[in-house]
């Protein structure tokens, strides 16, 4: 199933949750924020947000300093 991840097409194995996406891609959730179809999600929404075909997902990862 195709989604747009960080601006690029990405094939994923069917409608999975954001949590599952993170596990699949081995992303670190602790310093990341997800924008799903232009909405910023809180981390406790990731589990119940199921991705659909052509969904747009931005994963924003922060580093320390400031």
């Amino acid at each position: 199933m195709k989604i747009i991840l960080n601006g690029k097409e990405k094939d994923i194995p069917g409608p999975i949750s954001i949590n599952d996406l993170f596990s699949l891609l081995k992303f670190d959730p602790s310093k990341a924020v997800v924008e799903h179809n232009r909405k910023i999600l809180k981390q406790d929404e990731w589990d119940r947000t199921v991705l659909k075909k052509n969904d747009k997902v931005e994963v924003i990862s922060f580093v320390g300093g400031g």
Binding site: K31, V33, E35, I40, F62, V63, G64, G65, G66
Partner: protein, 203 residues
């Protein structure tokens, strides 16, 4: 209009200055980014601020933060407020000496048009974005400004119309890459530049 504001009319039309002066600014963190953002924003004519920081000034901050030797031990938020009023005595500033966490963060910045994220740790950056990311306010964040090298540029990354992240997005603070004035101040200045452009041109 005081002398400082009259001086601004050399650089801005009255309409632009008026737009700047009406815009309400929030700055979360008054350290390397926050104290320097405050400086750039005050000097650009903004005069309605809400600032927050729980920390006090220590000697190792002085390499990049807008404080001085005789201010060691004082509250970063209070001295940043003092700096703001030194630039423009007619600035109004709400000062919170508070550490933000998930239990209190939504008490702050309720009426701010622009919110600057100026924290030093990635967890707090995440918390701020998850809290205010859908609020309709302009969020300007910082990520990746440590170290000496200039191989990675401090850049303005527009995520969407209401979210900008300034930095190189990768250089974390650590022993190899301490936070140093040139890149931290560059990052703060670009963050203020985003706010100024947005306020004056609507973009």
């Amino acid at each position: 209009m005081n002398e400082f504001e009259k001086g601004l009319l050399r650089h801005f039309s009255i309409e632009k200055l008026s737009a700047i002066q009406k815009t309400r600014i929030g700055i979360a963190g008054c350290g390397g980014l926050g104290s320097n953002i405050a400086n750039a924003m005050a000097r650009s004519g903004f005069r309605d601020f809400e600032i927050i920081d729980h920390d006090v000034i220590c000697a190792s901050n002085l390499n990049r933060q807008n404080f001085y030797l005789d201010e060691i031990g004082s509250s970063k938020a209070e001295i940043t407020a003092k700096r703001l009023k030194q630039v423009n005595p007619d600035i109004s500033v709400m000062v919170h000496k508070q550490k933000l966490d998930k239990n209190n963060i939504d008490r702050y910045f309720k009426d701010r048009d622009i919110i600057f994220e100026a924290f030093d740790n990635a967890d707090a950056k995440k918390l701020l974005l998850e809290t205010f990311g859908n609020s309709g306010r302009l969020l300007i964040m910082g990520s990746g400004m440590a170290g000496i090298g200039n191989k990675t540029s401090i850049e303005i990354n527009k995520v969407n119309d209401k979210l900008y992240i300034v930095g190189d997005m990768k250089t974390d603070v650590g022993k190899e890459n301490p936070p140093l004035a040139p890149r931290v101040i560059a990052c703060a200045a670009l963050m203020a530049s985003v706010a100024l452009e947005n306020t004056v041109t609507g973009k």
